[in-house]
C-alpha cells in the first residue's frame, strides 16, 4: 500500500535544494548508493556528509563529472540510457534518479535497470500535472516555462515529461512497491498528507518516490 508522507523538509539547515534533502531523508545511513545524473555532485556530497553513504555517481556532462571528481566524489562519465546495463544485479542499496527521469530517452527501461541494480530506487521529477503548467497550456496554448523548467521547448533536455499520476501508473505496470511518496511546492512545503491523488497531482510541483522490488 501507499504511504504518502508529510516529511519535514528542512532545506534551510543545509542550504540545499529541497528535493535533495527529501531524498537524503529516504536513504538509510551507511548504505551503498548510486546517483544517476550526479550533476555537480551536490546530492552525493550531502549524502556522504549527512548519511555517511558509500556513494557513486554517473553523469553525462564532462564538466559535471570533472567537478565531482575534483571534489573527491566517485563519479564516472556515462549515459544512464546506455551505461546502467553494465552494473551487476544488487550492486547498491539505493539507486537515485534526481530530476533526470524526464531527460532520459527510455524512462521505463532506466527505472527497470535501477531496480535491478539496487534494492531500492529513489526518483524525483518535476510534476507536469501541476496547475500552473495546466494553466499555461489551457490559457496561452504554449509549452510552459516555469521557475523549475526554464527552457524553451526547442532547447530543453527534458523529452519525457510526466505527471505524478503518470508515474504512479508506471510503477503499477512495473509491479514495484511504492514505499514512500512526497510531493511539495516550489517553496519546499509538502502537500497535505491525507490529500487525494488528484490534489497531489494538481498542487505538487515536484515529487519524490521511494520504490522497491516486490520480491
Amino acid at each position: 500500500m501507499l504511504a504518502r508522507e508529510d516529511t519535514p523538509v528542512s532545506a534551510a539547515q543545509h542550504g540545499t535544494r529541497v528535493d535533495l534533502v527529501v531524498i537524503a531523508d529516504m536513504v538509510k545511513r551507511g548504505s551503498r548508493v548510486l546517483d544517476v545524473g550526479s550533476g555537480d555532485g551536490e546530492l552525493l556530497r550531502l549524502l556522504s556528509e549527512t548519511r555517511g553513504v558509500d556513494g557513486r555517481g554517473i553523469e553525462i556532462s564532462r564538466e559535471g563529472v570533472n567537478r565531482c571528481v575534483a571534489k573527491g566524489l566517485a563519479v564516472i562519465q556515462g549515459d544512464a540510457d546506455i551505461d546502467l546495463a553494465d552494473y551487476p544485479d544488487d550492486a547498491f542499496d539505493y539507486v537515485i534518479l534526481s530530476q533526470t527521469l524526464q531527460a532520459t530517452r527510455r524512462p521505463r527501461w532506466v527505472l527497470e535497470q535501477m531496480l535491478r541494480i539496487g534494492r531500492n530506487a529513489v526518483v524525483s521529477f518535476p510534476n507536469f500535472g501541476h496547475w500552473k503548467i495546466r494553466l499555461e497550456i489551457l490559457v496561452r496554448g504554449r509549452m510552459p516555462i516555469t521557475e523549475n523548467l526554464p527552457e524553451n521547448w526547442y532547447e530543453t533536455p527534458n523529452i519525457h515529461f510526466c505527471t505524478i499520476r503518470d508515474f504512479v501508473e508506471l510503477t503499477r505496470e512495473l509491479d514495484v512497491r511504492m514505499n514512500r511518496a512526497v510531493a511539495f511546492n516550489s517553496r519546499g512545503r509538502a502537500v497535505r498528507l491525507n490529500a487525494p491523488w488528484w490534489f497531489w497531482n494538481m498542487f505538487g510541483e515536484q515529487a519524490v518516490f521511494l520504490l522497491s522490488r516486490k520480491n
Binding site: D54, R56, R62, V65, N66, C68, V69, A70, K71, G72, L73, A74, V75, I76, Q77, G78, D83, D86, Y87, P88, A91
Partner: protein, 396 residues
C-alpha cells in the same frame, strides 16, 4: 654532482649513460642471489637492482606512500635535475611541495622499470657473469615483471600498502597491474591516459620503431656496445615516429602548421624545409643521447604484451574481483594512442566488479602527451582524488 647538457653536445653520451646504467645518481636497491626476480618468461633474474628516488617523508604509520610509475622512455627522475640531460624532472607539473601530488604530505617513490637504462637492471646493465652488458641475452620482461620488481622495492623500503599508485601511459598500465596483482597493497589507483591492453595499432607503431632500430647497421644484432657504436639513426627514427603518436593533428597544426624552417621558400630537396620536420629531427637526436636502443626494444615489447583481461581468463572484471581499491581513471579527448574508449572499457569492468571508480575525460588538443603538460583540470582532479583517498585513509 649533476651533469650538464654540455656533456652531451660534446659527445660524452656513452660516458654519462654508461655510468647511469650501473651506478646511477639516484638511490639503488640491490637484490642478491637470495632474492631473484621471477619473470613471466619463466626464468629468474638474479642479481638485479632497482634505481629509485623518493620525495617527502614517510609518516609514522607508513601510510602516505605514493608510487609513481613512469612511461616508456621516462625514469625515476620525476622531479629534480636529470643527471644526463640536465633538464627538470618529467612530472614537475604535478609533483612537488603544494602540487597536486604534494610532497609536503605524501612520500613519493619513483623507480626505473626493469628493462630500463637509468640504473635498474636492463639490457644495458653489466651482466656480472660475462662482465659485459646483457644486450639481448636479458630475458624479455613484461609489465607484470616491472610491478613485481616494484613490490620487492616496497618490501625493501618497509612499506606494506601504498596510499596510491599512479602514472601515465605505460605508467597507467602498471597502476592497473598493481591493483590487479596486489589489491591489498593498493588503497587507490590512478591510471592516466592508459589501457588494460595494448591495441593492435599501438603494437604496429612499436613494431615500426623496433624495425627502425634493428635496420640500423650500427645496431649489430644488439651487441653495439662491444665496439662502442650505437644505432643512433635507427633509434632517432623510432623516436620520431613515436613522437607523432604522442601529439595530435590539431596540436601539430597549432604549433607548426606548414611553416618553413629558417627559409622563405621550399628548396625542392629533402632537407628539413618544414618546421615540423626540423622539430621531429631534433626530438630524435636528443633522445638518442639519453636512451639505450636495446632498452627501447625491451620496454616497447613489454607494453605490447600487456593484456590484463587475457591474464584473468579473458575477463577484465575478473582482474578486479572483490577489489577494495578505489580507482580514478583519466583520459584526454585528443589522445589517439590511448583513446577514451580504452579507459571506458576499464570503467565498465570496474563497475561490473562493483569497484569504487571515478572517471574523467579532459578536453585538450595536446594528445597523449597532455598528461605531462600544463592541464589545470588534471591538477584539480588528481588533487581531489588524492585528498579524498588520504581522508579515507586517515592521513591529515
Amino acid at each position: 654532482m649533476s651533469v650538464t647538457r654540455v656533456d652531451i653536445i660534446a659527445g660524452n653520451r656513452t660516458e654519462a649513460m654508461k655510468r647511469e646504467v650501473d651506478e646511477p645518481h639516484s638511490e639503488v636497491a640491490r637484490f642478491g642471489a637470495g632474492k631473484p626476480l621471477k619473470l613471466d618468461a619463466g626464468v629468474e633474474l638474479s642479481p638485479f637492482q632497482i634505481a629509485y628516488t623518493t620525495q617527502g617523508t614517510l609518516n609514522a604509520a607508513r601510510s602516505n606512500a605514493i608510487l609513481i610509475c613512469h612511461a616508456l622512455t621516462g625514469d625515476q627522475y620525476v622531479v629534480g635535475t636529470h643527471p644526463v640531460t640536465g633538464r627538470p624532472g618529467w612530472w614537475e607539473t604535478l609533483v612537488g611541495p603544494g602540487k597536486p601530488i604534494d610532497t609536503n604530505r605524501f612520500f613519493v617513490i619513483c623507480s626505473n622499470v626493469i628493462g630500463g637504462c637509468m640504473g635498474t637492471t636492463g639490457p644495458a646493465s653489466r651482466n656480472s657473469e660475462t662482465g659485459e652488458p646483457y644486450g639481448l641475452s636479458l630475458p624479455v620482461v613484461t609489465v607484470p615483471d616491472m610491478v613485481r620488481a616494484q613490490s620487492m622495492l616496497l618490501d625493501h623500503l618497509g612499506i606494506e600498502q601504498l596510499l596510491c599508485v599512479t602514472g601515465g601511459s605505460m605508467g597507467a598500465m602498471q597502476a592497473l597491474q598493481w591493483a590487479a596483482a596486489y589489491p591489498e597493497r593498493v588503497f587507490a589507483s590512478l591510471p592516466i591516459a592508459g589501457a588494460a591492453r595494448h591495441s593492435a595499432q599501438n603494437i604496429a607503431f612499436h613494431e615500426v620503431g623496433r624495425q627502425a632500430v634493428m635496420a640500423d647497421p650500427d645496431w649489430k644484432s644488439g651487441v653495439y656496445f662491444r665496439d662502442g657504436s650505437f644505432p643512433r639513426r635507427g633509434l632517432a627514427v623510432a623516436r620520431m615516429a613515436a613522437h607523432i603518436t604522442y601529439l595530435s593533428d590539431s596540436a601539430l597544426h597549432r604549433k607548426f602548421g606548414r611553416q618553413l624552417q629558417d627559409r622563405t621558400a621550399i628548396t625542392f630537396g629533402f632537407d628539413a624545409d618544414f618546421q615540423v620536420e626540423s622539430y621531429l629531427r631534433h626530438q630524435g637526436s636528443i633522445f638518442v643521447e639519453r636512451f639505450d636502443a636495446n632498452s627501447y626494444l625491451y620496454i616497447t615489447r613489454a607494453m605490447d604484451y600487456f593484456d590484463l583481461a587475457a591474464d584473468h581468463g579473458g575477463s577484465l572484471a575478473n582482474a578486479f574481483k572483490n577489489t577494495k581499491t578505489r580507482f580514478c581513471l583519466i583520459s584526454f579527448t585528443s589522445d589517439w594512442l590511448f583513446p577514451t574508449a580504452e579507459a571506458r572499457q576499464i570503467v565498465h569492468a570496474l563497475n561490473a566488479a562493483s569497484a569504487s571508480v571515478s572517471f574523467a575525460e579532459i578536453e585538450t588538443d595536446k594528445g597523449h602527451d597532455a598528461f605531462l603538460l600544463d592541464e589545470p583540470e588534471l591538477y584539480d582532479i588528481v588533487r581531489g582524488f588524492l585528498n579524498s583517498a588520504a581522508r579515507a585513509r586517515g592521513i591529515t
